[in-house]
Symmetry: C2
Subunit: 334 residues, 2 copies
Amino acid sequence: MPATIRDIRNRTGLSLATISKYLNGGNVLPKNKELIEEAIAELHYEVNEIARGLVTNQTKIVGVMVYDIESFFAGSMLHYIGHELRKQGYGTLICDSYNNEEVEEQNLKFLLGKKVDGILILPVSLSGSFMEQARSADVPVVLIDRAVKDMEFDFVGIDNHMAAFRAVNLLIENHHRRIAVIASDVEYSGIERLAGYLHAMEAAGLEILPCYKRLGRHSFELGYEQMKELLALSERPTAVFLGNYETTLGAIMAVNEAGLSWPEDLSIVGFDDLIVSRVVRPKIWMVVQPMEAICTKAVELLMNRIRHKGEEPAVKINYGAIIREGDSIRSLAE
Amino acid sequence: MPATIRDIRNRTGLSLATISKYLNGGNVLPKNKELIEEAIAELHYEVNEIARGLVTNQTKIVGVMVYDIESFFAGSMLHYIGHELRKQGYGTLICDSYNNEEVEEQNLKFLLGKKVDGILILPVSLSGSFMEQARSADVPVVLIDRAVKDMEFDFVGIDNHMAAFRAVNLLIENHHRRIAVIASDVEYSGIERLAGYLHAMEAAGLEILPCYKRLGRHSFELGYEQMKELLALSERPTAVFLGNYETTLGAIMAVNEAGLSWPEDLSIVGFDDLIVSRVVRPKIWMVVQPMEAICTKAVELLMNRIRHKGEEPAVKINYGAIIREGDSIRSLAE
DNA sequence: CTGTTAGCGCATTCAG
DNA sequence: CTGAATGCGCTAACAG
C-alpha cells in the first residue's frame, strides 16, 4: 500500500490543499515545508500520477509509434526523441508497429486509451486515415520521417526527393549512365526518394531499364536480395543508389558475398549514416539526415500543439540532407 | 472533450453500472448491449484508462528501462519484450538510461510515479541498491541480460561465464596462445564474460599479457580503439575474443581500417548475432544468445509476480548460449 | 498562506 | 440483470 497524500496529512496535521500546493511547487511556510518533506521521506510517499492525471486531464506522457523498433534508424531517432521529451518533463510510451498497418492502428487506439498528451509517429502506413481518431479525440499528432499522403498532419523530416535527386546527380556527374536503384516504394519517404532518382535520370536524359528499379519494403532483406539480382544481370549497372539505411546494409552484404568491391566493380551511394556504416571500407558516399534536429523540432512542434490547442493549420518542415563524401564512386570519365 | 461513460448513460438511459459491466465483459441484456454499442460508436467513446487505473489500482503498463536504446542489442530485445507484453495485454513504457546511472535512478522514480504494474530492467548499473524503492513500492522487477551484484532480483539471461569460457576454449583448441580480450568490466555480464575468458586461459595454463586485456564500457568505441591498439602491439595477439555486440562491430572496423583480415592475420570470436553481423565476410564465429526466449521468459516471470504478489524468493534463469560456426578462426596447428 | 469542498471517470459494493 | 451510492488519490476553486 503506497502512502497517499492523506497519510501525510494525518502525519503533519496540515490540509490536503497545502500538501498539494507544496507538491506542485507553490509557496508554503518553511516550517510546514519541513514537516511535509519529513513525512514524505518517512512514508516513502510518491505522487500518484494516475490520480493527478485524472484531474488535470493530462498524463505528461507522449506516445511514440515507430514502424519497427529493431530498425537502427528508428533506434537512433527514439534516442533523440526520448531525450528531448524528458527535457520537457514528458515520459515516452513507445509502441512498436512491426511494420504492420493493423498493429499500427491498434497502437493508436491503445495510446488514446492511455490518454497520452500527444503522439509522435514514425508511420508504417502510407495512408493516415486511421489517424483521424486522434484528431477527433483532440490529441495532437506529429509525423516524423515519413508523411502520409491523404491527410494534413504536422510533419518533420527531410526533403527526400531533393536528397535523392542530388545523390543520383552525383553519380551522373561522374559519368555513370547505367544507374540502378534499390528503394522502398511502400513508405512515403521511400516513394519520394524514388521520385528523386527518376527525376535526376530523366533530367539527364538517361534511360532507366526496368530491371534497374528494385523496389519493395524498407528492409535489410530488400537490399540484400535485390543487389544480388542486380549483380547477376548480364548488363550489370555501374552504379547503384541505395534508398535507406537497412537497404544499404543488405546491399553491402550482397556485394561482399559476390566477392566484388566498390568503387572498382560498382559505385554506390547509401542513405542514412549510423555508426555501422563506419565499419565498412572503403567509405561509402552517404546521404545524411540531421536526425537530432528533426527530433528536436518534432518535439517542439508537439509541445506547441499540446499547449495551444488551436486550429492552426498543419505545417510540414523539411530539412536539407547532407551528402557526405566517401570513396565509393568511381569516375567513368576518360 | 472525449465522451465519458456518463454521456453514454444519458444517451441510452441505462445506469453507469450496466455500462461498466458491459465494458468489462459482463453479462448484459442483448437489447441493452445493442444500445450501448450504438452509443459508443456514435459518441466515439473510449474507455479512460486513467480513471480505470485509479480504481483498479493497475495501469496495465509495464515499464522497461534500457541502458541504451541506441544499442542494437537493446533494440532487438525491446522488440521481443514489447511483442510479448502486448500479447499479455500490457503496454510498454520505455525509458532510455543513456548508460547513465543517475538517469537510471530517475527513470525508476518516474516509472513508479506512473504506477506501472511491473518493471523490466536492462540495467546500466552494477549496483541494484536504487531498485530498493521499487521493492518498497511493491512493484515487481525482473532484470534482463545483466544482473546486479548486491541485490536479489529475478533475472533472466545467459550463463555469460560459461559462454565466454567456451568461446575462448575454441580459440585454445585451435592452438592459439596469444589470445586477447576486448570486453566490458563495467557491466555485470561483461564482468562475467571476462571471468570466463580468464578461467579458460588459466585452465589451459596460458599466460595473459596485461596489454591483452582491453577493458571499458560496452560500446562501439571501445571495440574500435582497443582493437587498434592491439594491432599496433609489437607482439600482436593471434586471436581476440570480443565481449559484446557493439564491441565486436568496433573491432571489425579497426581491423578493416588496418587493412588486415581474418582469419589470416587474426582470429576472432564475436558476441551476439544481430543482422549486421551478416554483412561481414568471412563469417565471424559468434556467441549467440537466445534473445527471444530470454524476453519471453522475463515477461512470463514478471506476469507471475504481478498476479501473485507473494514473497517467493528471487529466481535467476540462465540459458546456455550457442556458439555459431564461422570462418574467422585459423588453426595454428602444424 | 491555509483549509474546505467538489469533483475528474470509472469500478464496485449492495439492494432491488 | 440492473440501479444508486461510494470512493480511488489528487487538484482546483473558493473562502478564511
